[in-house]
Amino acid sequence: MTASQPVILGEMPSLSKLYVNAAATAARRRVLGTHTGTELPECSHEVRGVQADVANLTAYQHLIGETASDVLPAGFIHALAFPLAMSVMNRDDFPLPLLGMIHLSNKVVQSAPVRFTEALDIRTRVENLRGHRAGTQLDVVAEVREAGDGAIRWLGVSSYLAKGVFLPGIDKPSAPSVPAAFTAPDPTALWQLGVDTGRAYAAVSGDFNPIHLSVLTAKALGMRRSIAHGMYLASRALADVGAAKGDAFSWDVSFEAPVFLPARVALDISTAQDGDGAWQRSDYAAWSPHSGRKHFSGSVAAL
């Protein structure tokens, strides 16, 4: 965490321009062989007075399986803050290549509900640069407050991996963590994800990352087919947990095998209650009913 003043942006940056700029930066670094150091930028970016578009909100809610209420789903706030998070990783002094980064895990603390009518101040920063057995990882932190100087309503921490990038001075973890063997339980739900799943999520989230859009655009970036957006999958799981989670909760997800589209995804949600029958937490896991490989897992828990 940095004590320096945030850089205030006049408006939410454009994701498409950020992607183009990231591609240009990648090309320039490849040609010139330059890199920008081994430390993360200390400054944070902020946009004030952000307001959700209600038509976009409704489309998002319908796609994810949420009721179209006036409260912003936690995954929608992630999408709202995402361009600002990208802008920090797009800075010239950001040491890792932005394109091709892999979303490893995501954690959100929703301490109070946010309604679409509220103006929000959103601040993002990067921190915790560290080694990973396959490269280098870092955390992108986003804080969402009511405009003015309110308390944090929504806090998101996204962990990304720059695969195959090893920065000097950052050690790999000595023992690679071996994931526990996964045995698929009986499913409680089955998702049929069409080939247009990635495009549909791009339309409501604004995240037009080519690896999600089509077979051709995904192949251009070295994937054999397009893959479902991780936050689409996690947000659907959150919607499936349902109204029991209430207004204040934590929500985390760890991504494993990507979901190549089209796909059938099996899901299990198990709920834990306290002695009085009140909801405490729901754990979810999703896997391929075809191969049995785990796609992602996580939990939603009462604060």
Binding site: A189, I269, S270, P289
Partner: protein, 474 residues
């Protein structure tokens, strides 16, 4: 959740903990008191009786009724009932029916069927929809109106066509069409049209998946069947009995005054009088093939998609007497239940396992006081899972709040004239089929041990719901 906890208002009452179960057991007695007080507070409540019923034979989808609409079939069943009981030009108190697969244009399906029938055009009607429990719920709602003195006569019913099912346009096309309708200028219209994509032209066919889980009803039941360790052999045996019992009932002329032939059908098209355990054993499993346990559910022990309609004539005793009509059975009581199936706490079709214990407790009865069990055979596994739950000590204690298992039923009293596995299951029409069948059986039995013969109906429904009822011989 405990059975009584389900009916209690506070969320904490639905606790699975043993202590709450004890509380719930205490509430059980309180519930009986409340029922007793209610009876005392409304001494003028009168009886609602089943006069009789009429249905058309059930056809397999794509069969004899392929081109018949829901309204056609409901009107056919209604006209047969009118002819049987001389109701031409009669103003009935109210008619209620419904369909599960329903076209949006059929918003007034039942009233339109009444207008197309020989009943007085001054007969009011309403539509009701509670998935497969639709037909039984129309009987219970109308019987309650009769008991309260709001109406003297009523016709309950239901209809469904899996052949003539509605097909919707895609969401993309629908949104464009609605925006086009709202557009006022040519540029606005063109802009709306420009959003149309080729894939939007593909229609949206109905599917049988539960909206919240994406699993089909068969896949849900396969999970429950495996959970209760119901064997393939037990399911095939139940299916075989259903066909044998229904065939024997036809041979005995049991359905002569319950059916009106339609479109050349005189019997349910799904009935296989010559089926056998050997033949059923040759069928390949169709549901639960991706589960860890062995797949046991086949086309033989699951109900097929079916078309058909049924109706039931209900009345006060006075109205039946004044019209010189029979009084077969009394509609005693009914109960609805629902389970939290979404994350697998209970099986999708297990709500009757909770509804029946509550209903019997409220009426001071046990399973041994029932002479006929009509448990709807959505799948053989559904019936057998429900019976297994009732026989299970753990389920009885922790989920029903009882001292032990709820009880065992005498299989010779189960679906004695066949049920949905043999007859087929046009969703909303099944309740009317069962009520009319049971009322006739109860009337024929008359008295048992000095009391009226008693029957129990149990129907499971999509959305984790179930509706159950008690009928007594009049």
């Amino acid at each position: 959740m405990s059975i009584q906890g389900q009916s209690a208002p506070g969320p904490k009452e639905s606790s699975p903990s043993p202590s709450a179960g004890q509380n719930a057991a205490g509430q059980n007695a309180a519930g009986q008191n409340a029922a007793g007080q209610a009876a005392a507070a409304f001494p003028q409540l009168r009886k609602a009786v089943v006069v009789g019923g009429n249905r058309i034979p059930f056809a397999r989808t794509g069969g004899a009724y392929t081109k018949s609409s829901n309204q056609d079939m409901l009107t056919a069943a209604l006209d047969g009932l009118i002819a049987r009981f001389g109701l031409q030009d009669e103003r009935i108190g109210e008619v209620a029916a419904g369909a599960v697969l329903k076209h949006s244009r059929d918003f007034n399906l039942t009233r339109e069927a009444v207008l197309g029938s020989a009943l007085s055009a001054e007969t009011p009607a309403y539509d009701l929809q509670q998935a497969c429990a639709t037909g039984l719920e129309t009987v219970l709602g109308l019987a309650n109106k009769i008991r309260l003195g709001q109406i003297d006569s009523a016709i309950a019913g239901g209809v469904d066509s899996a052949s003539d099912a509605p097909i919707a346009v895609s969401e993309g096309l629908r949104e464009v069409l609605l925006d086009l309708n709202r557009a006022k200028t040519l540029p606005q219209r063109l802009q709306a049209l420009s959003r149309l994509r080729p894939k939007d032209l593909a229609p949206d066919a109905p599917n049988t998946g539960e909206p919240r889980t994406g699993l089909s009803m068969g896949e849900h039941q396969a999970l429950t069947t495996a959970q209760w360790k119901i064997t393939r052999e037990a399911q095939d045996e139940l299916a075989c009995n259903s066909h044998r019992n229904l065939a024997a009932a036809y041979d005995a002329g049991f359905f002569d005054d319950l059916l009106t032939p339609y479109r050349g059908l005189r019997k349910d098209a799904n009935l296989r009088p010559d089926t056998s355990l050997e033949k059923l054993a040759t069928l390949k499993p169709v549901f639960g093939k991706n589960l860890g346990s062995e797949a046991t559910m086949t086309a033989g022990n699951s109900t097929p998609l079916t078309d058909g309609a049924s109706t039931v004539l209900l009345a006060s005793e006075e109205w039946a007497d004044a019209h010189d009509l029979p009084k077969l059975a009394t509609v005693v009581d009914g109960e609805a239940a629902a389970v939290d199936f979404v994350h697998g706490k209970d099986g999708l079709l297990m709500a009757p396992a909770f509804a029946v214990p509550r209903l019997l407790a409220r009426n001071g009865l046990t399973l041994e006081d029932i002479d006929f069990f009509e448990i709807h055979e959505a799948f053989a596994g559904t019936v057998l899972s429900t019976l297994a739950a009732w026989e299970d000590e753990e389920f009885g204690r922790t989920r029903l709040g009882l001292d032990g298992a709820f009880g065992i039923i005498d299989r010779s009293k189960l679906n004695v004239n066949g049920s949905s596995l043999a007859a087929g299951h046009p969703f909303a029409a099944t309740g009317g089929r069962i009520v009319a069948t049971l009322a006739k059986m109860l009337h024929a039995r008359g008295q048992v041990d000095g009391r009226p013969a008693r029957g129990l109906i149990s129907i499971c429904a999509a959305g984790g719901q179930g509706v159950v009822a008690i009928l007594e011989a009049h």
